[in-house]
């Protein structure tokens, strides 16, 4: 059975077809039924959610509701939520109850969203498989032995399995788009600075960006209208008006141009994925768009560049987890040195430590120029190269990932293989550009994601392309057998 989208639920709520409380109860029931096997949630906020749902119902009844009023949603556990555990998937923060709300959280709350829980994720968003979480791996609802991707794997699995109609995520190197591709949903990463980072636990500050995991591009547009915008508390947030994305979805694609980089179709790309992507591009041709080949010679450098820049920033960002003021503290250290060492040793997992060490190394005296500075220069090259494309094309398209969802345990012991899985998504973060992954077919029984990349602040264009595609195709309506399998359907 088809899942209902945010826009459909919004219409149903307004027409009184069902109440927010009913929707919320349904979502909570599905979570209760599916979460033991999926492990998509770290925290379920049943009571808070029902209170919020009843408040939303009152607002709906008073006619003062907005399009998101009463819609259940899950936040990735990287967003600080006042009074609730905000673990970031780490033992280090497994006892951390945030005293404040992230800007994304408060903005969505203001829009009437009902938060049902916090989703599982790779520890501190460092990982591409959700296997680095202190709370255990999330499973892919399409194949329980496979990874849902990461780091926003819990959010992706929750939406794909129909536990919630939408979830927030963050994307530092592909952490929204890759899990969206692996779970057959729509994952949207806006331009760097479009959504405030305040209250989002930092991994790599110059790359981190909040976005959405939804069934459709239209839903992403609705959520973005509430989430995006300037925030005086984030100096890197963009002081630009937020367009009415959801009203710009139907603009024609006739005469628009899609650039397809040949590097996105190298030998690493799974052949079924390639076929699905080529088919998807044909759909755009049918919609009146032109396809043009282009080349991004520096793309291959994006993975090594990213794995210098991101660890460098993370090594510094994660220094605050020292066991002094919050988070995990080793219980019986005898001096300050031991307190730091043991707290961090025990509080962080292997991947986080690997990145802290890498980052510390590349910033060290004598290595800074050769690694960090060099990586910054290459980042500039990669970014300029990608941005130059938009002088000639409206968007760039290609696969989101080289393969469909890989098996749990398949890559976790080989960090380089794991890192290479992000080859198609990372350049977008290095450039600060917006990107979206939408389902475009299957490789066997596993979903394949089509990635669309836009110029800075080209969110409306991307959503417009993605929406047209979803009007022409039904890949985004496909759900795994497990979805909605709780007997609580309305």
């Amino acid at each position: 059975m088809d899942r209902l989208t945010v826009s459909q639920l919004s219409a149903g709520l307004r027409s009184g077809e069902f109440s927010s409380e009913e929707l919320t109860r349904q979502s909570l029931a599905r979570i209760e039924a599916a979460n033991p096997s999926l492990n998509a949630f770290i925290t379920v906020m049943a009571e808070e959610a029902l209170t919020a749902a009843r408040a939303a119902d009152r607002r709906l009844a008073s006619g003062k509701a907005g399009p998101l009023t009463g819609i259940p949603l899950a936040h990735k556990d990287i967003f600080c939520t006042a009074g609730t555990l905000t673990s970031c998937g780490s033992r280090m923060l497994a006892n951390f109850v945030s005293p404040y709300d992230a800007t994304v959280v408060s903005k969505l709350a203001d829009a009437g969203i009902v938060v049902v829980g916090k989703t599982n994720m790779d520890e501190f968003a460092m990982g591409s498989s959700n296997e680095t979480s202190y709370f255990g791996p999330v499973r892919n609802p399409w194949d329980m032995e496979r990874s849902p991707g990461g780091s926003s794997g819990g959010s992706a699995a929750a939406v794909a399995a129909g536990l919630v109609p939408a979830a927030t995520g963050t994307d530092t190197g592909g952490s929204i788009r890759q899990p969206a591709a692996f779970t057959g949903i729509t994952g949207f990463k806006p331009t760097y600075g479009r959504v405030s980072r305040y209250g989002m636990v930092a991994f790599a500050s110059s790359l981190d960006q909040a976005g959405t995991l939804t069934a459709t591009a239209e839903d992403a547009a609705l959520l973005m209208e509430a989430m995006a915008g300037f925030d005086a508390r984030d100096s890197t947030s963009a002081d630009q008006a937020v367009p009415a994305y959801s009203s710009m979805l139907d603009e024609t694609l006739a005469g628009k141009t899609i650039g397809v980089p040949q590097e996105y179709f190298d030998e690493g790309l799974d052949s079924d994925c390639e076929r699905a992507i080529r088919d998807a591009l044909d759909v755009f041709v049918d919609l009146g768009a032109k396809i043009t080949e282009l080349t991004l010679p520096h793309l291959a450098l994006s993975v090594p560049t990213y794995y210098i820049v991101a660890p460098a920033e993370c090594s510094s960002n994660l220094s605050r987890y020292d066991g002094i003021r919050f988070g995990y503290r080793h219980p019986d250290a005898s001096d300050i040195g031991e307190l730091y060492t043991r707290s961090r040793q025990e509080g962080f997992g292997a991947e986080v430590k690997r990145r802290i060490m890498t980052g510390t190394y590349v910033l060290s005296a004598g290595y800074y120029d050769a690694y960090y500075l060099q990586a910054q220069k290459v980042r500039r090259l990669i970014s300029d190269e990608l941005m130059r494309c938009f002088e000639d094309v409206d968007i760039v398209a290609g696969p989101t990932t080289p393969t469909p969802a890989f098996g749990l345990g398949e890559k976790i012991d080989d960090p380089v293989q794991m890192y290479l899985n992000d080859i198609y998504t990372i350049a977008v973060n290095l450039a600060g550009a917006p990107g979206i992954s939408i389902p475009c077919g299957f490789s066997g029984t596993l979903p394949v994601g089509l990635q669309l990349i836009g110029p800075h602040f080209g969110e409306a264009t991307l959503l417009n392309f993605a929406h047209h595609y979803q009007q022409q195709t039904d890949w985004h309506t496909k759900t795994p057998a497990l979805a909605l399998n709780d007997g609580a359907d309305k």
């Binding site: 989002m200 930092a202 500050s205 508390r233 100096s235 020292d322 002094i324 800074y368």
Partner: protein
């Protein structure tokens, strides 16, 4: 061998902003521990720094005051190290690209000469918290009230050549930041402190010797004493055939010596890199212009004006312009006293300062206002009272007995300038002391002082001394003929 000393100072001055440099938290000194530390100051997960524009304006003011380049684009960097009172595990500072570069100040040397001291750079940064090692037994307390307080670090060129010069330079910067109103300069509260880099080399050598860094000197006196000690120490090491080790040392004021910090405390690779949470700081012409317009008169400008308008000597000027409060006090007290500015200067640096020092009162809190002093000076000038009597009036004013005119009136201190009245006394005194009058007339002219004293005694000190002198001389000389 003759040795030459090379000193450079890094002065940390706390900026007097309303709120912290990257958060909206207050910066009031002396609050209960950890009551002025918000989530940003505490380095909570997810929080972000937002630059305080007031701190930027203050740094620019300083840059303009030292004739420096105000960099149109400067960059905040993270200085990474672990310390319990450093909440984020890094300090946000400016490293490669500071906001202010290449300026200078002129200092007054003891020999009367002047010296221009180059200032390499001044950059903005946040302060750390405080570790309280003595408050709790076997435990360290952390007070994060100070964490995030804005600092301007002012780095001089290695151009100071003695402990005295270093102290003079530090005083000069202290004076300047206070004139600019960008820091309260309170050294007891740690608002103004410095690190000194010191090396010695054989006179005439062009290459610098190995330097030692003295950390956290928080008084002018300690700066001077610590540097003096360190210079002697280094010369001793070198003269004994040893080598100076490049290290960080602490000054122990109790023992008046410097000691190396434990090497562990300085073995840091700070891994500086640009802070990705803050955009490069851009300063446009409009901002620069508005700050230029808000600049107060600088000490150097006031010094020039005091020389030109009041004809004061350089030593007096230094004293009277030490702070803008000092300068304002002098100007108000000297208003309308054309031709008598030296008298005003003498009273400002003499009686006034003596009283302030004696009572431990700052000039802003002086019970004698500039107008009070001006009034008193006018009474001296119009000869209502003598300079000596004026001191009595001043003390009475200090004690709150009213203004000069009231006190002169109630205490009956008006000077007797009436020639007829004085003439009578003079005649009497000469008549009472015929022997001395004879000696005077016999050529012992210095006995005039004796007669003046007698007249003053007879008039209770109220006689106008100049008039008395004149009358005595006239009478004594006249009687001779």
């Amino acid at each position: 061998m003759n040795w030459e000393t090379v000193i450079g100072l890094e002065i940390h001055t706390q900026l007097a902003t309303q709120s912290k440099i990257f958060s909206g938290e207050r910066t009031t000194y002396g609050a209960e521990p950890n009551t002025q530390a918000c989530l940003v100051d505490l380095g909570y997960p997810g929080v972000l720094p937002v630059l305080n524009s007031e701190a930027v304006a203050m740094a620019v003011k300083f840059g303009l005051a030292i004739g420096a380049t105000i960099e149109r684009r400067s960059v905040f960097a993270r200085k990474n190290y672990f310390y319990p009172d450093l909440p984020k595990g890094y300090q946000i500072s400016q490293y490669e690209l500071p906001i202010v570069s290449r300026g200078s100040v002129v200092i007054q040397l003891d020999d009367g000469g002047q010296k221009r001291v180059g200032i390499t750079r001044a950059h903005l940064e946040e302060d750390a918290g405080k570790s309280l090692h003595e408050t709790f037994k076997d435990q360290t307390g952390i007070d994060l009230n100070r964490a995030g307080t804005p600092l301007l670090e002012i780095v001089s060129e290695p151009e100071l050549s003695s402990a005295a010069e270093a102290a003079t330079y530090m005083r000069k910067i202290h004076q300047l930041v206070r004139y600019l109103g960008i820091s309260d300069g309170n050294m007891q509260e740690g608002s103004f402190r410095c690190d000194a880099n010191i090396s010695v080399r054989p006179s005439g050598d062009t290459e610098l010797g190995t330097r030692a860094e003295l950390k956290n000197l928080n008084s002018f006196r300690y700066v001077e004493k610590a540097i003096e000690f360190e210079i002697e120490r280094q010369i001793d090491v070198l003269e004994d055939g040893g080598k100076v080790v490049q290290e960080t040392r602490l000054y122990d004021s109790g023992k008046d010596e410097t000691r190396p910090m434990r090497s562990k405390e300085e073995a840091n690779d700070y891994r500086y890199f640009p802070d990705p949470d803050l955009l490069p700081l851009e300063i446009d012409e409009a901002l620069l212009d508005s700050i230029k317009e808000s600049m107060p008169e600088l000490p150097s400008e006031i010094e020039e004006r005091f020389a030109r308008d009041y004809g004061l000597n350089p030593v007096d000027i230094q004293i009277l312009t030490a702070s803008s409060e000092d300068a304002k006090f002098f100007e108000a007290s000297a208003e309308g006293l054309d031709g008598n500015y030296e008298l005003a200067a003498n009273w400002n640096k003499g009686e006034l300062r003596a009283a302030l020092n004696r009572e431990g009162v700052t000039i802003s809190d002086s019970p004698v206002s500039p107008a009070d002093l001006n009034n008193l000076l006018q009474r001296i000038i119009d000869e209502t009272i003598s300079g000596k009597t004026a001191k009595e009036v001043f003390e009475a004013m200090w004690a709150g007995e009213g203004d000069a005119d009231q006190i002169i009136e109630t205490r009956g201190l008006q000077q007797i300038s009436d020639v007829a009245a004085l003439e009578k006394v003079v005649q009497q005194v000469i008549a009472d002391n015929p022997e001395q009058a004879g000696q005077y007339r016999g050529g012992k002219q210095k006995l005039l002082g004796f007669f003046v004293g007698q007249v003053m005694q007879a008039t209770g000190g109220k006689a106008n001394p100049a008039e008395v002198n004149k009358l005595l001389r006239a009478r004594l000389d006249a009687d001779e003929n």
